[in-house]
Amino acid sequence: MSMPAHAVSAPSTAAPRAIPTEAEIEAKARARIKARRTLVISLRIAILVAVLGIWEIGAETGFIDPFFFASPSGIADQIWIWMTEGTSQGPLWTQILVTLEETVLGFIIGAVGGVVCGILLGRNKLLADVFSIYIKIANSIPRVVLGSIFIIALGLGMPSKVALAVVMVFFVVFANAFQGVREADRAMIANAQILGASPFQITTTVIIPSAMSWILASLHVSFGFALVGAVVGEFLGAKQGVGLLIATAQGAFNANGVFAAMIILAVLALVMEFLITLVENRLVKWRPVPFNEQN
């Protein structure tokens, strides 16, 4: 390696200053990346402050009617009151826990069901051909309407909300799992077959891992759907939960209450999204890191 380099070495008369060293270039690049990150974060904060500020000032001056559109300080007050004094239907934490339980239960049941059915139908052409029409029909039903049926059938308690969350989640996960199974690489399956894998081993060691990216992508979306299912279920009739909180606030023309509950739900969704991303990163650590994610 050193021989040819020696043969073509640059004339030593070149100004040493003109050529920055490797370390200098790296330091410069690092500084640039840091500056950019700072810029992005400060812009984000600036936008948040501007929106909330305009909203608050608008509400103070009467430009925005706080009776209909609430105000940031009113919403903060409302959340504080709920946290310290509890809501009309009991402590705030109970409401959050109830909604969270419905959501998580519905999410797990729907996701597992969707994955199992997706793999089953993806692996079996006959089943897929027979059932695809029914799944299409079921998927075209506006599923929120099923909430009414569930309330009639399962009552005002938790089961009706869980059921609604399940149907919200199931189809999304199913469709992705099915597609993921179908997209599994032919050569990879043939390879496993020739290496000696049984059909069951092919499903567990080739089909499921290769469908995993598809399934995980659907889990991100479908947790939000599960939350919608649970909250809408509570809207339609419940004794507990954040959805009921919203319904109550709406009935009392309490715009601050509606927004406050909304923010609580958003925080819930964000926390869960973060947890799902953690799980995802553990499951698909074999995936290449996207080149230069910063840009």
Binding site: D185, A187, M188, A190, N191, A192, Q193, I194, L195, G196, A197, S198, Q201, T205, V206, P209, S210, M212, V284, W286, R287, P288
Partner: protein, 285 residues
Amino acid sequence: MSLHTLEVARPPLSPAAGFSPAIELENVTRRFLTPDGKSMTALRDFTMTVDRGEFACVVGPTGCGKSTTLNLVTGLARPSAGEVRVMGGPVSGIHEDVGFVFQADALFPWRSVLDNVAAGPIYRGLSKARAYEKARDWIARVGLSRFEKHYPHQLSGGMRKRVALAQTFINEPKILLMDEPFSALDVQTRTLMQNELLDLWSGSGASVVFVTHDLEEAVALADKVYVLTAGPATVKSVYRIDLPRPRVMEEIRYDSAFVEQCRVIWDDLRQEVQIGQQRTLDTGH
């Protein structure tokens, strides 16, 4: 030059060849049904015999049905007519003595090198401890011991092929099928991999069918080269390559016997390539 006269005239290669040949395809025809219900013939009256321990290469124009021959031997495809025998018995399902190296990357991207190589033995019911032990040994043989924990995407194309070879050889296949395995590699890496393959093969006693469109690769590697006609493919001629072994890929290409052999076979193959090309231009597919 007919296959049969060639086979009869030649004494057995090794004591093992006294048994039935490793692979026999007899007057095999294979038709495909296209999705719109049309029938397409990929292989017609195809006859091929590969003895135990023999290295056979199959060359032919692009898209003539070379890969179909391999799928028939694995049992992944059934002949429409004719007979396929592996180790003297008819093919029913995937034979456990068969190993296959694919053209495309067929490694499992979610498994480390070690887990990829250990896959075969584990599928076949070996204990995990034994399988990993064996896998480490094979990874060492292809020179990747320092990359056991890496995932396929972290390796170069040549290294991935080495993993694929180890993954296949660990099952100790008596029949090794290779479908243009090195066609995606750059020329230097390809030469290295060809040497690697000959090394692994010479210690294994396996029979090889190596499909390629690269005539020089075929002549350099093989004991016997089958030239196929433009599709539907059938055997046009068979050439025996008597270059001495062990062969060194970097040097063999300058060997005058090698060059002469290539020239003779190329004269034969060129006509088929032209027919194939003309047909593609005429029919538009």
